[in-house]
Structure formats: structure tokens, C-alpha cells
Amino acid sequence: MTDMTVSLPPQARWWQSRVVRRFTGNWLALLGLAMITLLTLACIFGPSLLPYDSLYVDLRARFAPPLSGQHYLGTDPLGRDIAARLLMAGRISLMVGFFAMLLATLLGTVVGVIAGYSGGWVNSVLMRTVDGFLSFPTIFLLLALAVALQPTPVMITIIIALTGWMEVARIVEAEVRSLKEREFVMAGRMLGLGRAHIMFREILPNAMGPIIVAATLTVARAILLEAYVSFLGFGIQPPLPSWGNMLNGAQQYLGTAPWLAIIPGVAITIAVTSFNFIGDGLRDALDVRKDTL
């Protein structure tokens, strides 16, 4: 009877999986995904399709309101086209958000995996460091660093990442701590696999769900933080546009030219809420507890 070979069920395609079905069933998450895709495409291709360059100063058309002539979103106090500036700023803001997320997730994951798998004093040292970072007021830390260091986009990205990796580390640490008790990890030790192999090639792929969710939410947070520091004048420096420093420049004209503030504000809101929707959608879709009937 044991020689009987078994027939296998047909292989399921990835788009037929429950995770994908649950994600596509969540219209808010789909909306978020669509908005982000649109925004990203617009930022990549938009500037070269618009009639004006983002740095072109048209003094005759200062303070033009939206939908006046070729200036679809109006102009700023120097007569620069807001549509062009918004999309150029979007490039910077989205890039800062994305790379800050990448750095933060990478750092958080490595710390979390090592702390979670090692346990003992390694865990204590690493996780108390995380607690230490968390106990600093983020904004204060951000501003202090931004003042002390050269505020280039790269530096801003690194600073934001340094204030955002702790969440990821905590999530990963908890996940790894529960995963390492599973028998497949013990099987890995029985096979004589190395520690690094077990940590990063056996355990880590099983913790990807929560990491992806945390990463999505980190992008939203990073975009918001960048806008915040730039608005306060310590972030991305003009003439390089970012959504934050566009808001900064709009302050004194709030009464006379409100569109200067409203347009970048709406862009930030759309980007942040869309990433949050995607994050929530992924969290629900990856929640395995819903797999049981």
C-alpha cells in the first residue's frame, strides 16, 4: 500500500489565492492602490508633458488662480507653474517616503529577526535600544538632526528612516519569537543549518506578511514627516520643491491665494490616506485567522 503514489491537486495560480481575493474585495484598498499608481505615474511623466518647467519664472502671470490659461493649477508668487512644481515636488516627496520606508524596514527587520531569534541578553540589548529610540519625541529628534546635518534629500531620507524603524523591529521581533518555536525551525537545527540561514531563509519568509503591512504604513508616515520638517523650513530646501516647502511658501498668502496651500495639501492627503488604505487592506488580506471556516 505504501508504494502507491499519490495524485496531486492542480496547482493554484497566485491570483487565485485567498489573499489576493480578499484584497481585491476591499474597495478602499483598491482605491488607494489606484490613487497611488496614478500619482506615481503623474509624477514620473507629468513634468515633461506640461507646457511649463517647474523653475520657469513668469512674472507677468504671478498669483494666477487655477484654470487660468495654460497654468492649470495656477502660479505661485514668482509666477512659477504650480502643476509643474507639484509633480516635481511629488517626485521628491514620494522618493523620500519610499526610500525612508526601505531603509527603516531593512533596519527594523534585521534588528527584529536577530533579537527575536537570539533571545536572552542579545534580545534585551536590542529591544531596549528600540525602546530608547521610541522614547525620544520623533519631531524633536527630526528637527534636531535636520538642523545639525546638511538637509539634502538623501540626508532627510536617512533621518526619517532612523526615526521609523522601531515599529518594524517590534513587529518582526514578536513574529519571529513565535515562529522560532515551530517544529520546522527545529527541523532546520536538526539538519545542521547555520543560524543566519535559519533566521533569514527559514523564518523571515514566514514573517513577510506583517513586514509588508508595516512597510506600507511606514511610507505614509515618512511622507507626512517629510512634509512636516520641510514645512517648518528644516527639510528640503528651495528652490528644490517638495510638498512640505510648497506649503511653507504658501503661508503668508493664505487669505489672498488659498490655492497655494490647498493644492499641495490635497496631494499630501491623497498620498497618505491611499498608503494607509493599502496598508489596512493588506493587513486584513494577510490575516490568516480568516482562512478558517
Partner: protein
């Protein structure tokens, strides 16, 4: 054919049987994405008053779904599409939620497989039994308290007054199940449904709980529907039997008749697969004359928890002064109940845990105290098969990856490892197409075969199998045991086979060591353990094996 109620009045006990529960043509649809359309299809049977009806089947046979339907506890995604259930003359299908609630507890009660998750961890035992009565508006606080104490005494719990104030986590598995039974009895139901109530328990505890259910049923004249996968339990307790396979009833009849002359081929197969005690010894393996492959001397392991500084330190001895030898090519069974230290012993042997003191001589060399880096070269020679086929394979790796990752980490070439993996898949009875698949695509038995193939990738000298078959259905269990036996014949590997099931151990072991509270209390060939046990504990264990009378009475049939 199977829709007919087969139990005829002539074979039932003396008093004219009255029907307490009748199920007719019950069909329950599954959601579309599942592998079959119906959870159960056209199921019919009767539960006679004052009888114990066993519903037997393997996992996925639909036995639990049937039981849950009786109480209206079906998950929302399943729909009853046809049939009727008559409980004490009342139709259950289509009954409103309020009416059903009134029925539950008062007319029908249920006890579950896992008493720990069925009990509320934040309520005392007494409060939970009390609540069952209070929610149906029975008695006053005073009378309910008295009744609760009576019930706790009735189910054989020691010192009911003290027990009343205990929380579930303080109790042992058997005690928790007794509390569940007390709760189920609180409203004096006429029908009791027991869904695998002894599966999670040790064999001696199982024997006690079975006796308790039988006693209470007799005393109160209750009707019991008992769901189980174990024909040994059926033989202990059943008056009549319903056998289910893949959602269909394939055989019904009085217990004696079904056990001794099963008519349906599936029932015959199930009964034949029940591991029965084999008390003859296996022929001595070829290597038994040489020096032993493994010798364990005075092994000790204790677990410590808490902190010495805060004086909360608790020390639990897991393995105490254990010594044994294992001859080349032979199998040693380590048998014991939960908490006996048998799994700790297994983990010490493959060095997944560090030894406190003692020696493990593998081929003459002490490996107990070797640092991990030096022990690494021994890992290929000592491999382990794990208990839970669902947890022991990495869900994110393909079967090919799972099989080849170990040998490749020890320097085997990728192509060679892949070729060997394919050979081993064939050896353990799997299609080589499994190579690129993920674990979730396989059933429990198939996964356990993969686990075995993984352990064989290195051509090990010693296999430690930790409860390797206990998570599997009996028919699958028999296949896996046969596979292990064949592998041993072909490769000459020595095995340490850890199990809680004496029947399984008797099937495959040359020698058996019985463990109790961390010590080996008896060690010898199966003939000694099962026929002339020397220690009281072994005697108790052997006596508690369910259904042995029926096995002894019909050994010829069981072997067929």
C-alpha cells in the same frame, strides 16, 4: 441502501427501544472553493433511548459536522440543504435561534475534544457550571451552588468544595474533561453528544473518562452520541455504531456485529488498520551481536523557570538518570504519557537541547557534551522525524527546497541533492512531481512522508521518531509504520521510536522502555512488557488500552 435504518429491534437490548434522536437524509453543502460539494450527504441514523451510539470515521468524514448540526452550531458558510433531524419529537432543522438555545443544555448537551479551550480561563470551575444553569433560569443562587457541588462530586472530582473555586489552568486534562462533563450534565439533558472527548487525553485518563461516561449514562438512562476515530474506544463503550466515510454513512449496526463482522469494505479496512497489541517479539536484527550503536548513560535534564534572585525559581526534572542501549538496525520504543519526559529525551538525543549531565555514546563517542560546532559533523548521522506534519515543514519552501537544504548546507552538490530528493520521494511513496510543490498542497499523511524523506536525505544511522504517527488517521498510521519498517529493512537504520500509544509501539519495536515521571520504569522486549509486566505502572498502562478484549477475541480478522 445506506439511507435505511439498519438497527433492527431484534438486536437491540430488551426494552422496546424508543428513539431519542433521529437523523434522516441530512445533507449539508460546503462553500464552492472546497474540494467536495457536501460535508455530509444523505446521512440517516437513529439514536435509541438509553444507548451509546458511536459515530466513527477518519478526519474529514463529516462526523463532527453532523454533531454540530444537531445543536444548530454549524459554521455560517455551511448550509443544510436537505433532510430532517428529530430531537425528542421536535424538528431541529429550521428552528429559530431562541428555540435552539432552549434546546441546548436542557435536552442536548455537548462535550468537546479540547477541554482547555472549551472552558473559560477567567472563570472558576464552579462559576462555569453554575452559569450553565443560571442562563436557563434554573433555581436560586443557593440551590444552584448545592447542585454544582453535587455535580462536581458526581463526575469524580476530588474535594468538590475546593474544586469549586479553582481556575481551569490549575486542573489536569482529565479533570478539565470531568468539569466539562459536569457542565453538560447540569441541566439533566436526555441526550449527550461527546465529540472526541478522550482524544487529547493520556491512555490511563482516557480509560477513566470512558468509564465515567458509561457509568453516568447507565445511572441516568441518558442517550449518548459518541464521536471518535478510534475503534478501540468503540469496542469499550458502544451499543451501536455508525461508520462514516467522506460524508456518507457506509455502515450502521449493533457494536458487536460491526466490530466482529464488518460488512462494508471501508469498515473492514479501518478495523484492520487499528494497531493491535502484538506481544510476540520481532526477530533479532542482524547487527544485534555487534557493539551497540547508541548507549545512553545516566542522562539528566531539568527545566528551570523563574528567577533565583526573586525566589520564584521552579525546577522541573524532565529526564532523570536514564540509561539504555540501542543495537544496530533495531528499534527501541520509548513509551509514556504526557509529561513523562519522553519527548525531552528525544530532543536530547538529537541535541536540540543541551544535556545537564550523563553520556550519550554514539558509535562509542560521547556526543552529550560536544559543542554545537563539533557536533555538526554528527548531525547527518542522527536525524529526527517530527510529530506535527503541519508544523514541521516550512510553509514558504517547496518540497524540493525542504529536502535539499540540509545536505547542501553540508556541502552536497545541488544536482546530486536534487536527484537524491527525487529518489527518496519515490521511496516514501510520493510522486516526484511533489518536488516543486508547497507543503499546504499535501495531506497530513503525505506531509509525514516528506518529513521522513527529509530525515533520510543524509542516509542517517539513527532515526529519532517523536510521535511520528500520532497526528495521523489510523489507516494512514498503518501505512507510515509499514513504510518505516521497510526503510529499516532496506537501510539498516536504527530507530528510537517515541510514542504514547503502546499498541503502536508493539507494532514496530524490538524493545520497549516505559517512562514515567522522567525515569525508565521498565525496559524489555514486547513479550515482557505486554504479558508479564514487572512494574505496576506498566501494568496500569497495558490495562488502560481501549478495546483490547475485542482485539484478543478477533485477532485473525484484525490481521487480515
Amino acid at each position: 441502501m445506506m439511507a435505511q435504518p439498519v438497527i433492527t429491534p431484534a438486536t437491540a437490548p430488551e426494552a422496546a427501544p424508543e428513539i431519542a434522536l433521529s437523523v434522516r437524509g441530512l445533507t449539508i453543502a460546503l462553500p464552492k472553493s472546497m474540494e467536495r460539494r457536501y460535508a455530509v450527504e444523505d446521512v440517516s441514523f437513529d439514536l435509541h433511548r438509553g444507548q451509546i451510539l458511536c459515530v466513527v470515521g477518519e478526519s474529514g468524514s463529516g462526523k463532527s459536522v453532523t454533531a454540530n448540526t444537531l445543536l444548530g452550531l454549524l459554521p455560517k458558510v455551511m448550509k443544510t440543504t436537505a433532510g430532517s433531524i428529530t430531537l425528542e419529537g421536535r424538528e431541529v432543522i429550521g428552528m429559530g435561534a431562541e428555540e435552539l438555545r432552549d434546546l441546548r443544555g436542557r435536552i442536548v448537551s455537548m462535550i468537546f475534544q479540547d477541554p482547555l479551550s472549551a472552558l473559560n480561563p477567567l472563570m472558576t470551575v464552579g462559576a462555569q457550571v453554575d452559569e450553565a444553569m443560571a442562563s436557563h433560569g434554573m433555581g436560586t443562587a443557593e440551590t444552584r451552588r448545592t447542585r454544582t457541588l453535587e455535580l462536581l462530586a458526581e463526575v469524580g472530582l476530588p474535594d468538590p468544595k475546593l474544586m469549586y473555586h479553582q481556575y481551569p489552568f490549575r486542573l489536569s486534562g482529565g479533570q478539565r474533561q470531568r468539569v466539562m462533563i459536569a457542565m453538560a450534565l447540569a441541566l439533566e439533558p436526555t441526550i449527550l453528544i461527546a465529540d472526541e472527548p478522550t482524544t487529547a487525553l493520556d491512555v490511563t485518563t482516557q480509560a477513566q473518562i470512558l468509564k465515567l461516561i458509561r457509568d453516568i449514562q447507565r445511572r441516568k438512562g441518558m442517550s449518548v452520541m459518541f464521536i471518535t476515530h478510534d475503534f478501540g474506544v468503540v469496542a469499550e463503550i458502544a451499543d451501536s455504531v455508525v461508520v462514516m466515510e467522506k460524508g456518507h454513512v457506509v455502515e450502521t449496526g449493533p457494536a458487536d456485529q460491526v466490530l466482529r463482522s464488518p460488512r462494508h469494505e471501508y469498515t473492514q479496512r479501518l478495523i484492520a488498520a487499528v494497531p493491535h497489541l502484538r506481544s510476540e517479539d520481532r526477530p533479532a536484527p542482524a547487527g544485534s551481536a555487534e557493539a551497540p550503536l547508541l548507549e545512553v548513560r545516566n542522562l539528566v535534564k531539568t527545566y528551570a523557570s523563574g528567577s533565583a534572585l526573586l525566589r520564584t525559581r521552579r525546577v522541573v526534572p524532565a529526564v532523570q538518570d536514564v540509561s539504555f542501549q540501542l543495537a544496530r538496525g533495531s528499534t527501541l520504543g520509548i513509551v509514556g504519557e504526557s509529561g513523562s519526559g519522553k519527548s525531552s529525551l528525544g530532543r536530547l538525543l538529537v541535541r536540540l537541547m543541551d544535556v545537564d549531565s550523563g553520556q550519550i555514546l554514539f558509535d562509542g563517542k560521547d556526543i552529550a557534551a560536544l559543542p554545537e560546532a563539533e557536533f555538526r559533523s554528527f548531525r547527518p548521522k542522527i536525524q529526527m522525524i517530527f510529530q506535527d506534519p503541519f508544523a514541521s515543514l516550512n510553509p514558504r519552501m517547496t518540497i524540493g527546497g525542504i529536502l535539499t537544504v540540509g545536505p547542501m548546507a553540508h556541502g552536497m552538490k545541488a544536482a546530486e541533492a536534487r536527484a537524491q530528493a527525487r529518489d527518496l520521494l519515490k521511496l516514501v511513496g510520493l510522486d516526484t512531481g511533489a518536488f516543486g510543490r508547497y507543503p499546504h498542497e499535501f495531506s497530513g499523511g503525505q506531509r509525514q512522508r516528506i518529513g521522513i524523506a527529509r530525515a533520510l536525505m543524509f542516509r542517517p544511522r539513527l532515526l529519532v521518531a517523536d510521535e511520528a504517527v500520532s497526528a495521523l488517521d489510523v489507516s494512514i498510521q498503518a501505512q507510515i509504520l509499514e513504510l518505516l519498517e521497510r526503510i529499516q529493512r532496506e537501510t539498516g537504520v536504527s530507530m528510537v521510536f517515541i510514542t504514547h500509544d503502546l499498541r503502536v509501539a508493539s507494532q514496530i519495536c524490538d524493545e520497549i522502555a516505559v517512562m514515567h515521571k522522567g525515569r525508565i520504569v521498565e525496559h524489555g522486549p514486547p513479550s515482557q512488557i505486554f504479558q508479564t509486566p514487572r512494574s505496576d505502572y506498566t501494568r496500569e498502562l497495558v490495562a488502560a488500552i481501549p478495546g483490547e478484549d475485542f482485539q484478543r477475541a478477533a485477532p485473525a480478522m484484525a490481521l487480515n
